[in-house]
């Protein structure tokens, strides 16, 4: 029982990370039709941003309020990075989807290499608040507290995004744009203005995933974004491109499946079963769980 609780908590924590990356990817794809390979770079930027801030920024540190400042700085770096990428690289290639994807591929290669050049290829110890390495007793299992941090962050982001989409005018335009972009434009609304916002939001969420993922791993490496990105893609596709709730559900399913299968079957089977799940979902229900065409 205690093992199961621990596995579920870890699976949910992992799912939370996947969701943070996938939510931005999903919105960007749904609205603009761009499969953003540079999303892993946003994540890396956020992680290194927080790492840098914790050591160099006045008021930031590795514990308590200082960590919040550092994490906020990292998230801000991710958001600015996302917005700049949209304005400089994606916007000029308006409606040329393949070229946009290619540009993000080039950017992802270049950004990871640059991070490696600046910070070195070796893992750097990440500043983490002391309490994140503690454990909480839950149903007889001692669950590390960082799992709860991940879950809480993901739930907050999910609710914030849903509120934004549901109750604001910009959210309305985004939702309508995902549904039928040409129609929104025909109504005289400039959807393009929301693109930068969506990229900034996606960048911020990915950067948060980078910060929290580094807390979870205890270190930060240039390549960690890329490895998370593949699973985030899988989550986005399973959840249905353009759907936030779909991504959330798929992230939980993927995270938990992966953990359980890795433990109960054999190491590696979990990753394998997730990939199989993707193939199955795409072949039986190409539009993903949420029901929109991919």
């Amino acid at each position: 029982m205690s093992t199961l609780v621990l596995l579920l908590a870890t699976g949910l924590g992992l799912g939370a990370l996947y969701f943070l990356v996938a939510s931005g990817l999903s919105l960007i794809y749904g609205l603009m039709g761009v499969l953003n390979f540079a999303h892993g770079a946003f994540l890396t930027a956020g992680a290194y941003g927080a790492w840098w801030a914790a050591e160099n920024l006045p008021g930031a540190g590795d514990d308590g309020f200082g960590f919040v400042v550092a994490a906020t700085f990292g998230v801000a770096v991710g958001a600015v990075f996302g917005a700049v990428v949209e304005l400089v690289l994606i916007r000029p290639l308006y409606r040329r989807h393949i070229e946009q994807v290619l540009v993000t591929v080039g950017l992802s290669l270049a950004a990871v290499a640059l991070a490696q050049g600046i910070f070195g290829a070796d893992p750097r110890p990440f500043p983490r608040p002391g309490w994140t390495s503690g454990t909480v007793s839950l149903l007889g299992a001692s669950v590390p507290t960082d799992r709860f941090l991940l879950m809480a962050a993901a739930v907050v982001v999910l609710l914030a995004l849903l509120a934004l989409l549901r109750f604001t005018r910009v959210g309305l335009v985004i939702r309508a744009g995902v549904e039928n972009r040409s129609m929104v434009e025909a109504l005289g609304i400039d959807v393009r203005r929301t693109f930068t916002l969506v990229f900034a939001l996606g960048g911020a969420a990915a950067a948060l995933a980078g910060v929290l993922g580094s807390v979870y791993l205890g270190s930060v490496t240039p390549g960690q974004g890329t490895s998370l990105l593949i699973f985030a893609f899988i989550v986005v596709v399973i959840g249905g491109l353009g759907s936030i709730t779909g991504s959330a559900i798929a992230a939980v399913v993927v995270g938990v499946t992966q953990q359980l299968a890795n433990y109960y079957a054999a190491s590696g089977v979990g990753d394998f079963s997730v990939v199989l799940l993707l193939a199955l979902v795409l072949l039986t229900r190409p539009q993903g769980l949420s029901g929109r065409p991919a």
């Binding site: 794809y29 499969l35 390979f37 690289l89 000029p92 290639l93 393949i98 070229e99 290619l102 540009v103 591929v105 080039g106 950017l107 992802s108 290669l109 270049a110 950004a111 990871v112 290499a113 640059l114 490696q116 050049g117 600046i118 890329t226 593949i230 893609f233 899988i234 596709v237 491109l241 190491s267 590696g268 990753d271 394998f272 990939v275 199989l276 993707l278 193939a279 795409l282 072949l283 190409p286 991919a294």
Partner: protein, 360 residues
Amino acid sequence: MRAPERVAGVLPWVGRLAPVAVLVVLLVLPYVQLDVSWVLPDRVNGPGSMQLLALCLVFGGIALSYDVLFGRTGLLSFGHALFVAAGSYGTALGLARLDLSLWLAVLLTLAAGVVLPLVVGAVALRVSGIAFAMVTLAFAQAASILVLRNPGGLTGGEEGLPLLRDAVPDLLTGVVNAPYRYWLALAYLVGCWAVVVWLGRSRAGHAWAAIRENPERVAVLGISTYRAKLLAVVVGCFLGTLGGIAHLLVVGGASPSITSAEFTLTLLVMVVLGGAGSRWGAVLGGVLYTYLDNRLLELASSEGVQSLPAVLRVPASEPLFVLGSLFVLVVFFAPGGLAGVVHGRARSPRSLARRRKRAA
């Protein structure tokens, strides 16, 4: 996206003769003593240069095989690494674990190189667009995980699987025999080229081009797009598997890096860099990318770069940063890739109009 087929549309016979001329030059390179230590590791026929050139040619061929899917048929696959890895690991496993002879191992691998894409393609082609890319990615990722987890100590995990030297003819092993591996790589590239030329002119090739431009129209014309696309997948991936075998023999081992999704992305970068849909473009992209990837590291440790201020030195010493940025620039300013730049003038609207007038 698309670059024209012929190197010189104005003088057709130049276009026909150019590949032969290039082939002759490439064939005699191992006899050239010229010292070119500023472009290659040592003199042209030195072992270091031969090894690098062989690798470049192998990647030229693999890029060409990927272009059958991406540039010719318009299928964006993220799973090409699976088939290259199947060639490399299939042969290495056959030699090391099943004690097969080289020929038998290669034959079995080639059989797998037909069956595997047939199965994966048949499944993945049920969906199209991004979903197709994702299903192929899923298959490749599954294989990559499998290789890295090293089941039963079969694949060697992160270490990779070295080529069993005893099972390979002496001519293909050892530093001094680099020219033979170079000719092997050249033979692979020429083979790929021949297949692509031949199929490009066949009915299947025309169907591929039509599917790339307008799949709905092809379907309305009564041609089965599914079968044509499946053929493209099988041909492209089979050539990829062949490339995996060549890669194994040239590099002397199967490495898990060629199973990764990044490997497929690199192929995509090569093809777009050179010019998608163009034979010359794809091959040139593969050769140039591999060359730069290897030589830029050399350049990074050179005095010129090391004496630069840190702002310039750090990015300049990361080959992937340079290549990634170069790639972004190409996508922006030369959408047809290198082949498109070369043909820029020939393809300008005015010259097209002129050609049309002449034809009429």
